[in-house]
Amino acid sequence: MAQSTQLHVVTGKGGTGKTTVAAALAMSLAGRGKKVLLCEVEGRQGIAQLFDVPPLPYEERRIAVGLGGGEVYALAIDPEAALLEYLAMYYRLGRAGKALDKFGIIDFATTIAPGVRDVLLTGKVYEAARRRTGGRFTYDAIIMDAPPTGRITRFLNVNSEVAGLAKVGPIRRQADSIMEMMRAPETRVHLVTVLEEMPVQETIDGIAELTSERLPVGHVILNLVRPSVLSEASQDALTSGSLAPASVGSVLAGVGLQRDADVAEALIAGGEAHLERQRLQDAQREILDGCGRPLVELPLLSDGIDLGALFELAEQLEGLR
């Protein structure tokens, strides 16, 4: 029997929209009737901003309701609060807990002591993933808006962080159990990328790193994909340079729009740039096709991201379970 509930870890290079994807995945699972916990670990309050709710406290709060009875709870994990909670829970350190704070140890442990911060952040997720209510897991799934791709393996691999430091003892035991959950069949690490050279390269590197640490890689999510607008005939015309500004101008005049040469040329330049980006996108997609992981595409929404957009993106993520 599973020791912990489903865990989706969502990572991605900065600027690729991993928080948005994590939130959309939460909405998608809630749309299928599931009770989901969406966690953030970097203190950025990105979830609160997406869902347009006040900053999240260190407390599981319901922020959205899905169709079919699903719910999304959210939690901003704060390492200090997690440490105090951990001390109280496992050591009943009432008085000593306060003494630790007085001596600056809480601050030390959460900001300076190597690895401890990450053990605390993942430790809270571990606790929530194993928690049961009335004989079954409290949550059907937990989604973690995790640190960026460049740091993800180190972040999840708390064991090796702590291993150099603590060879025995409770922190070590805690790290071992967290590692077990990270490598469990219920866990997957999804990588979010945009179809540009650097993020794609980071994604490929990230998959290799995760795999070599036996961390389970799930989907690669291609975010902000620009749909192709140009038909093949138009692409040919733009590539060969056979499209005359004058001809575009007369078409524009025919539909009652401005027909100056400048305008026609600007439209053609816009088309050429679009085409160039499409080709770059295609080339990067081809690279990812060979990465050995299933791909999911999310379109670029020109109006930006709001709750409605999250529902729209959530539909595209139905293949993730």
Binding site: G14, G15, R44, Q49, L87, Y91, L93, R95, A96, G97, A99, L100, F103, G104, I105, D107, F108, I112, P114, G115, P147, G150, R154, E161, L165, A166, K167, V168, P170, I171, R172, E197, M198, P199, Q201, L230, S231, A233, S234, A237, L238, L243, S247, V248, V251, V255, G256, Q258, D262, V263, E265, A266, L267, G270, G271, E272, H274, R277, S302, I305
Partner: protein, 402 residues
């Protein structure tokens, strides 16, 4: 993090006044005049900061190249450049020293580039400031190994350490720094303080107490604390930490002094911060936070660079008009009519994006009226050679936007 009161509301205001900005109209802060900033011979350090994925490294490299080609002697310190960008600057060797960039059109100027190796920088500091015997002891300590390769602030601190070192050599008259992609983009400002607060912390003093010998009165509190720590961490961890701190003790003073020195260098005349953002809500929010924080810390802000901004040369046609015309043209026509329809669809989309980006920029300048800003148009392709950097440099200096 704690302690030093850098923030003083009374002095805040004057320091936000930007360096290197054109007069512009006072209300909006005007356009960030990049050339004036780079031409100004009193500008010795430019720090590019902003959240991850906004093009900080590219901006830093483009500024450095432009300054070098203007005849200045420049070093660019990057943290984590894209592979091909690194290659284009000759950054293939990771030896933690600046190397000349070949291919720059230099007219009396020079350009060196380096990529930060965090652990190596830390090791070098230890080696330089401790006896060989003690250095070996520190470098082998498990606590040091973990601290130097993973402490949340090490990269930030080491970037600042390296900046201080490069500056001290006096070899360059301009150093451009890219900052690490931190969980909070401002971690590097906190790093010196955090280090100080760690070194001054009572906890460290307590750990040192037994090593410093003669039997002294240990407070009852300490007994509880050590026993709690032993329970949680295991006795071996505490011993490692004590050994490390005892060995490191003599270096503390030097470390703190250097941290404070670098901090002062950042505040000094001759330093200019350039906040880099992309026209996305999260990145602009981070930029706002950044600008406020820099003002609070009395760090000299030159202005804001908004990268990857979309614009259209056909802005006489509105999104709505373009869309309805496109619909007519794409359905049931062929040839140039159909193509024009598709071009109008692309244009409509572009106008929508532009409008959203404009809103974000307006919101920023309403909240931060004194900050000069420059927008850099999105290029269709990636930048990975010196020509690309030159193009970005031109856009930074000449784009007709505010």
């Amino acid at each position: 993090m704690t302690g030093k009161a850098h923030t003083s509301p009374s002095t805040r205001k004057g320091r936000t006044s930007p360096r290197g900005g054109t007069g512009g109209d006072g209300a909006t802060g005007g356009r960030l005049d990049v050339d004036a900033l780079l031409d100004d011979e009193t500008t010795h350090i430019v720090v590019c900061c902003g959240s991850g994925g906004v093009g900080k490294t590219t901006t830093a490299a483009a500024l450095a190249l432009r300054a070098a080609e203007k005849g200045r002697s420049v070093c660019v310190l990057t943290i984590d450049p894209a592979r091909r960008l690194a290659q284009s600057m000759g950054l293939t060797e990771l030896d933690n020293t600046p190397r000349p960039v070949t291919g720059a059109a230099l007219d009396g100027g020079s350009l060196d580039a380096m990529m930060l190796d965090m652990k190596r920088t830390f090791d070098e500091v230890v080696e330089q400031h401790a006896t060989p015997e003690k250095a070996a002891q520190i470098l082998a300590n498990p606590f040091y190994v973990a601290l130097s390769s993973s402490f949340a602030g090490t990269q930030e601190y080491m970037a600042m350490e390296k900046l201080g070192q490069l500056h001290a050599t006096g070899r360059w008259d301009l150093i451009v720094v890219d900052t690490p992609p931190s969980r909070s983009a401002l971690d590097f400002l906190d790093a010196p303080d955090r280090l100080s607060s760690m070194l001054d912390g009572r906890f460290i003093k307590l750990l040192l107490a037994p090593a410093k010998g003669p039997a002294r009165l240990i407070s009852a509190g300490f007994g509880i604390v050590t026993s709690a720590l032993n329970k949680i961490l295991g006795a071996q961890v505490l011993t490692d930490m004590q050994t490390f701190i005892a060995a490191f003790d003599t270096l503390f003073g030097g470390f703190r002094q250097r941290a404070e020195g670098t901090y002062a260098l950042l505040q000094a005349r001759g330093t200019a911060f350039v906040v880099v953002a992309a026209p996305e809500p999260a990145a602009m929010r981070e930029a706002s936070y950044f600008v406020e924080r820099l003002a609070g810390e009395q760090m000299p802000l030159a202005g804001l660079v908004v990268n990857r901004v979309h614009e259209s040369g056909a802005d006489g046609i509105t999104a709505v008009d373009a869309e309805s015309a496109a619909q007519k043209l794409v359905d049931g026509s062929a040839g140039d009519a159909r193509t024009t329809g598709e071009l109008l669809t692309i244009h409509a989309e572009r106008m929508r994006v532009t409008a959203r980006e404009e809103r974000l920029k307006r919101r920023f300048s309403a909240a931060h009226p004194g900050v000069p800003t420059v927008s850099v148009a999105a290029l269709a392709g990636d930048v990975h050679d010196l020509d690309g950097l030159r193009r970005i440099g031109d856009l930074l200096a000449g784009a007709d936007d505010a």
